[in-house]
Symmetry: none
Subunit: 227 residues, 2 copies
DNA sequence: CGAGCCGTGACATCCGAGTGACACTCCCGC
DNA sequence: GCGGGAGTGTCACTCGGATGTCACGGCTCG
């Protein structure tokens, strides 16, 4: 599913946009300031950003300038009450892909959102995890440890994604299953052990003495990026 | 250099646009009708199309509908005096990437042109794909492997084009269908397998042990130009 | 109506998720 | 320290789903 972030300090408007985007079948969320939005994008890259220009502290232009240094910059539609041509040109040349003037027609905005998302392949979410001497491409289902390449299955990727989202935090097997397998799958808890085994063979120097995927006796497993 | 075609029946306006686009460093030309424009695009693919909606015989909407069947569809900015929201939505959903209402500010239009062309570098619609001992002419629907010639169907070409645009990246069957077949075609996912089979017979030394079109179990297929 | 193309169904084959068995390790009470 | 039971490491095996492959039917176009 495609993800969208709305950066807008007018909360009722933001909520309305998010609701409508969700109704379009998109994974939408909002942030009330540029700083908050950028922090969110750094953690959880989005495919598209709806950006207001008139924000409290950090302006929309500042946000545009900061986007290229993100791990996965989103496409951007600027939504602004500023209708001077100079503002439009400035925003577009700062990297925005489209510019919609307030007040806008909702159906036009949604059509422009569809136009921007069209042709984007797959999900652009965070597609790399890097720690120690290991690099993981979540999009390509591949893992490299010192130039040695391994293939990852769908579930291995989901588990790595989960562990990376909770570094140094013990995760119970039941929690791992719920997050990586989904709400409606109920494999045995020993299945988790098997996947930990497979992952250790791919990311540990000595799989018998793991330093990254550590057993928390009686509680589950813990991911230590630092080792 | 990036190429632009302007389809506009108001000749003075068309000339003005072409001059300004050339001043921007682009290779611009114009056509006075939809038919003429499409013919031009078929001979000489462009990177971007500026399209008027109110054309004499064939309307701009008709042109939009005809674009996908071109060998190399351009990006499209619709430039129109029709300002009803319904027209905007319709044009965007027919595949336009942006919509500018007349009368427009020239600097804004040029900024939108730059925004559309940005990031297109390297994606310029090549009409040849070359890898290993295989050469493909996308325009001629032909493929050569060591002097052995094969004919390609329309969909085979689309799939090759898609794979070539995403080397070494696993593509899901659903994505392949969406990109190669189009948004409104829903063949079975097994259809993709059949086309992979046909392509393998044409590009692999040993189709039973493919090195270029590799299966990613559970994910789809991956194109490895290097083998 | 013949040829080529697209799409589906059927069958064989392959792969990996999940299970269970067995050995080993850890914690706890003695 | 020293069992013992619970928890974990590890592996071989199974089974369902995914894929390879082919053959057939519908379709369009000349």
């Amino acid at each position: 599913m495609k993800t969208i972030l709305v950066i807008e300090d007018d909360l009722p408007l933001a909520r309305g946009l998010v609701d409508n985007l969700r109704f379009e079948g998109l994974l939408a969320s909002s942030a009330a300031s540029g700083e908050e939005g950028l922090a969110r994008l750094r953690e959880q890259p989005a495919d598209l950003l709806l950006l207001d220009l008139m924000l409290p502290a950090m302006s929309g232009f500042d946000v545009l300038r900061a986007l290229p240094s993100l791990p996965a910059p989103p496409r951007v539609i600027v939504v602004s009450a500023r209708d001077a041509e100079a503002d439009v040109v400035r925003a577009l040349d700062l990297g925005a892909h489209d510019y919609v003037k307030k007040p806008f027609g909702l159906s036009e905005l949604l059509a422009r959102v569809r136009a921007q998302l069209r042709g984007l392949l797959g999900e652009t979410q965070a597609d790399e995890i890097v720690f120690a001497d290991v690099r993981v491409s979540l999009k390509r289902f591949r893992l490299w440890k010192r130039k040695k390449e391994s293939l990852l299955s769908h579930l291995e990727v989901e588990m790595l994604r989960l562990f990376a989202a909770h570094p140094d935090e013990p995760l119970k097997r039941s929690e791992i299953i719920r997050q990586a397998w989904g709400e409606d799958a109920y494999p045995s808890e020993r299945t988790v052990d098997n996947f930990v085994l497979k992952l250790r063979k791919k990311i540990e120097d000595d799989p018998a003495r793991p330093r990254h995927l550590v057993t928390e006796f009686g509680h589950g497993y813990r991911f230590c990026p630092a080792g």
